[in-house]
């Protein structure tokens, strides 16, 4: 077993884990943070997206030992007010992909410079959604960007 120290949702976390356990399983089954979902276990669907040192990362592909000393943020750390634009735009239906979608979407919202070189559709392509056809998600990201920066990018 491995003594694992890292920062989880802004607070220090310490626990004993199997060193080859996946970060996803540590979050879900050891820590009860079940907002992070297991969609495919092979880094294709993005349902398990968390932020690792600020970057969206598939938690199913990260062995727990790799997060030692690092910063992990999960959907549980997100202020509910920030979710409102996604509710209004129809970004969630069944909800299984949704926490992962939100983590990538808010990374875009916090890093709007990404949109100088990429479209929202390109940046969201690592999160598979089977319900919405993505339009509700894209509109949610646009609305969240507009809320934060006053006007949608490109409209200036």
């Amino acid at each position: 077993m491995l003594e694992l120290d890292f920062t989880l949702n802004g607070r220090p976390a310490a626990l004993r884990v199997d060193p080859v356990a996946r970060l996803l399983d540590v979050l879900r089954y050891d820590l009860g943070l079940t907002g992070t979902k297991d969609g495919c276990s092979e880094g294709e669907c993005g349902a398990c997206t968390v932020w690792l040192d600020g970057l969206p990362t598939d938690a199913c592909l990260v062995p727990a030992f790799q997060v030692a000393g690092r910063d992990v943020r999960t959907i549980e750390s997100i202020d509910p007010d920030r979710l409102r634009p996604f509710l209004a735009s129809g970004a969630t239906q069944c909800g299984a992909c949704t926490p992962g979608v939100v983590m990538t979407a808010l990374w875009i919202v916090e890093n709007p410079d990404l949109l100088r070189s990429h479209t929202i559709r390109e940046l969201m392509a690592g999160n598979i959604c089977r319900c919405t056809g993505y339009d509700g998600i894209i509109e949610g990201v646009e609305a969240a960007l507009a809320g934060r920066f006053g006007s949608p990018p490109g409209s200036a």
């Binding site: 509910p80 509710l87 069944c94 299984a96 392509a125 056809g133 993505y134 894209i138």
Partner: protein, 737 residues
């Protein structure tokens, strides 16, 4: 109002079955058949594993009939001595550790003496492959109207075509799972499912329990699309058998690979058309042959075939129609319910064929459809007279106009002249989808629903219909709140628990908002009648009356009840397959614009217009989301979603190489509605959930056909298939051209 459970989903607070932490629960896993067909000679347990810590279940542990009861009792809960498909469940294991369990599953070997498997419905079975009747046909159905042969003989032109579609995996993002436990002599099974009472019926049968000693409870369901219509009964029974033997809660949750390999998929199809037209381009005869690969057990295939053939002639008027359908038993894992339920397959064939007919007679495909769409007063292949006031030609014309068809055609010709590699094209599909169960199905279901007035003044809707993303909770809340004039916050939707709610039927067939939503309104009215109030009493007055009733009747249950009553003048003859197949149809025309790169043969959908009339919209955001999601799923089926098979097993059962559309594979999907109210539905609404999966595949493939001048007949139209088509077309062209 906003989606009721939307914030819970966005914040990750919603608890799906795998999210439920249960004290003392063990995990369950399944040992499956390695062979597509054969006799089980032996089940070997690796002596290197210490089996004392495991609970092991096989067919001998099934206390009742070893049947997953649905339409026919042919599918065993666990194979006893014979297997009929790869991945058929044979042995179940439970253990506290998931990783120990994974290793143990690999330590069980099912030894099968193989018999010849039948895996390709395009070839008749050899005698040693026959497993049902004398030809493996598990269901035959026939629709016949007029005299097709005479009409074909008299036709100006006859155009033939054969069309094929492949299996499609649902890819709900939450994989299937069930949790079972016993409490006070009652077996509880909670999990991801669409039809609590289907599971209940199967459990009562296989577990030989009284109905009130089994309770099936819906857990928040992360997508279904039909994939959680019948298969959850299998997993529920497995979890229950393990829990009963272990004497503790057991959870069975499939991982993605197991879910994709072992559970149902959309039926592969082969549809042949022989169509007679007159010199004005009017359809005078439609002769249609539909074949579905049903897989190894009957499951829902007869009903999928039924819906498939009823939609096979499309939304067109034709006096002479013959549709023959066969669902065929093979040794693939059973194919099953998937959004659209047979209609996407037959609509693909019909709408692709309409373009082939248009080409053959030198007519514009829009004009061919315009001349043949059913006008009010006309009738369908089953002789159902359509009088719903929907302007089907108007929908076609408006969809074409919204797509910018005429201007884009000019641009596309210009592009073909100027660009060596890029080609663009437009394609369309006109189609319809019947809402609710077919024929007398809704009458047979006799769905019941209760609306209770609670002692605290709130209203509780008690139904077996579930939320899987499509918006049931929101729609039911909205309908009840509006009907009674109360705030949506004062409405609660009861958990779909077979021990607590009446059987309002399965959450399938585009029936929930239209049929069950109607029951919500009727039960609200009945609640008011129970209180002795007139229909004008609403809101606070109603609430006061409700509280006063409870003061007078302490501890009593105040319930308004509703039971399904068919709309007037609906008649259906199951023997002849003639009559009113559905109480209502949604109607649509979709237009796709594609760009093909001749270097890679990659196809991109670059614009998509979806115009439909599904009656009055109950919730615009939810309705739009249903259409956009259905279009995305249809585009995937058309272009990229391909199941690869080897000896009856899916070899690409993972999202790495079973490819579904991402945000970057799709354009914005432009959704438009016309709202012709339908008197039979709540506030004028019709069913909507399945219609959007019927049109995208033919629209997209027709667009590719027009972009390149090829005639694709099979989906998915992958780059490899398209390259072959283009090569074949080039080879068949005269060299001088």
């Amino acid at each position: 109002m906003e989606r009721l459970e939307g914030l819970a989903k966005l914040s990750g607070a919603e608890r799906y079955v795998d999210d439920l932490a249960v004290e003392g629960a063990w995990w369950g896993m399944t040992v499956r058949s390695p062979a597509p067909r054969g006799r089980i000679r032996e089940v070997r347990f690796d002596p290197a594993v210490d089996w004392s810590g495991f609970v092991v279940v096989d067919h001998r542990d099934v206390p009742g009939a070893n049947e997953v009861l649905l339409i026919e009792p042919d599918q065993p809960v666990l194979a006893a001595d014979y297997v009929r498909h790869v991945h058929e469940p044979v042995v179940l294991l439970a253990h506290p550790s998931r990783s120990a369990l994974r290793r143990a599953v690999r330590g069980v070997e099912v030894v099968v003496d193989p018999d010849p498997a039948y895996l390709d419905v395009s070839i008749s079975p050899r005698s040693d492959q026959v497993q049902r009747g004398d030809d493996n046909v598990l269901k035959r159905l026939r629709i016949e109207k007029g005299d097709v042969e005479a009409a074909l003989d008299a036709a100006w032109r006859v155009v033939e075509g054969e069309y094929r579609t492949g299996a499609q995996e649902h890819v709900y993002i939450e994989t299937q799972g069930m949790l079972a436990w016993e409490e006070g002599g009652v077996l509880f099974v909670k999990g991801s499912l669409q039809c609590p009472f289907y599971v209940h019926k199967a459990a009562v049968r296989a577990l030989a329990r009284e109905a009130d000693r089994v309770r099936i409870v819906h857990a928040p369901t992360g997508g279904g699309f039909g994939g959680k219509e019948e298969y959850p009964s299998v997993i529920a029974l497995h979890a229950a058998l393990l829990a009963l033997k272990a004497g503790r809660p057991v959870k069975v949750v499939y991982d993605r690979g197991e879910d994709m390999a072992a559970t149902t998929k959309r039926h592969p199809s082969i549809v042949r058309h022989r169509t007679g037209v007159d010199s004005d381009g009017r359809l005078v005869a439609q002769d249609i042959d539909v074949v579905l690969d049903g897989g190894a057990y009957v499951t829902l295939s007869p009903v999928v075939l039924s819906r498939g053939i009823i939609h096979a002639a499309g939304p067109y008027q034709c006096d002479h129609v013959r549709i023959v359908g066969r669902a065929i038993l093979t040794n693939s894992p059973p194919h099953g319910a998937f959004r659209g339920f047979g209609a996407p397959q037959t609509h693909f064939a019909n709408e692709r064929h309409m373009d082939v007919v248009a080409d053959a007679i030198g007519m514009d495909p829009i004009e061919l459809r315009r001349r043949n769409l059913i006008v009010d007063g006309g009738e369908t292949a089953t002789g159902q007279r359509i009088r719903d006031g929907v302007d089907r030609v108007g929908i076609l014309d408006r969809a074409v106009e919204l797509s910018g068809w005429r201007e884009k055609e000019v641009e596309h010709r210009r592009l073909a002249r100027s660009d060596p590699w890029l080609r663009r094209g437009l394609g369309l599909a006109s189609f319809h989808h019947g809402a609710g169960f077919t024929g007398g199905g809704e009458v047979a279901l006799a769905s019941r629903l209760d609306v209770a007035g609670l002692p605290d003044g709130r209203i509780e809707v008690r139904s077996a219909n579930i939320e899987m993303g499509q918006g049931t909770l929101t729609i039911f809340t909205q309908l009840a709140a509006e009907r009674l004039g109360v705030d949506p916050d004062a409405v609660v939707i009861a958990e779909a628990d077979t021990g607590r709610v009446p059987n309002s039927g399965p959450t399938v067939a585009s029936r929930t908002a239209m049929v069950v939503g109607g029951l919500v309104e009727a039960a609200c009215d009945d609640l008011r009648a129970e209180l002795g109030l007139g229909s004008e009493v609403r809101g606070d007055d109603l609430r006061r009356a409700l509280l006063a009733w409870h003061d007078d009747h302490p501890g009593a249950d105040l319930v308004g009840r509703a039971e399904y009553a068919p709309p007037p003048n609906v008649r259906w003859d199951e023997a002849t397959y003639q009559g009113d197949a559905y109480a209502a149809f949604g109607w649509a025309t979709y237009v796709a614009e594609v760009e093909v790169d001749l270097r890679t043969f990659g196809v991109r959908v670059i614009d998509f217009v979806a115009l439909q009339d599904v009656g009055t919209l109950l919730h615009e955001t939810l309705a739009r989301g249903q259409v956009q999601g259905g279009v995305a799923q249809g585009v995937g089926w058309a272009l990229m979603e391909e199941c690869h098979w080897e000896d009856g097993a899916m070899t690409n059962a993972q999202l790495t190489n079973y490819i579904i559309p991402t945000s970057d594979d799709l354009p914005p999907i432009r959704v438009h509605f016309r709202e012709t109210p339908w008197a039979g539905g709540p506030r004028g609404a019709k069913g909507l959930g399945e219609l959007p999966i019927d049109g995208p595949a033919p629209a997209v493939v027709n667009a590719v056909a027009r972009a390149l001048g090829v005639e694709p007949r099979e989906i998915p139209l992958t780059a490899e298939r398209l390259m072959d088509l283009v090569d074949d077309a080039a080879a068949s062209r005269p060299r001088s051209a």
